[in-house]
Amino acid sequence: MRLLTHNMLSSNIKGVTNGFPLRIEVEKMVEKEVELNMDFLKNMFAKVEWRALVEASRSMGYSELPDEADSSMLDSDEFLRKFHHALLELHLEEGALVCPETGRKFPVNKGIPNMLLHEDEV
């Protein structure tokens, strides 16, 4: 699972109001190279939750993203490369996504998070 997918997922347990962002527990991560698409990145920048991406990439062991970012930084190739790497090239393979409010863990196996709820959570 890429961090772009992580960036749009929230804890969906009934009653949880602050389910975003899910904390990441990493047992295994992989990197897969993909071509950089500048227009795509510029477009995504307006949509991603920056803080969540920064925290997520740090828990994956990548700490190159600045704490704060604004759209003027998109003119820098170096910034774009880092943003691209964090958003699309880091994959969580094994581990868990943790609900920030309840601590409930959603397991991630073979890169696939299991967000199914138990009966009493729906």
Partner: protein, 209 residues
Amino acid sequence: MKLKQLEGILGSLQQFENPKIELEQYPTGPHIASRLLYTAENSFGDVSDKVVADFGCGCGTLGLAAGLLGAEHVIGFDIDAESIEIASSNAEELEIDMDFVQCDIRNLRLSDRTIDTVVMNPPFGTRKKGADMDFLSVALKVASQAVYSLHKTTTRDHIKRTALREYNASSAEVLCELRFDVPQLYKFHKKKEVDVAVDLWRFVPKNSR
């Protein structure tokens, strides 16, 4: 990529091994899947360089077709782990990077409008009434650009009305009518397959870009 070529590749994908009838697991055939994605890309520009979600992805045909047509990021959502496993090996076979999330679409919480386009062949609601409407309602909440979906032609008026009045669609348009082979849905049917008339829809959410 040519339409025929796309259809050919989709025809080579692995399909459900032990379809679960209660989840309405039947493949979206290569003919329909290729036309859905081809239209989305070539008539509307809703696929290449976009974030595309495949709701009820099953073995992944629709999402993978989006990947083949140049989607930047594709996510398949399904409730069933076995199907996702097949979809994931299909993705590997085609060397397409696709993410998957196992979840029940009905209680999925996604941030609004990060996804550009949703493509789906929802359960038609033959086993669980209203299943297709649940999918449509969530799809129109999360898509920023368009939702492509298949629904039984007999429900056309209902779909249009509900999408426009209740689900925040600014337009709901039938692009074409297709025939769909639905296997063994009805126990009382003697035939192995029933041929159902299905509409290919394009919905545009309000506040789309």
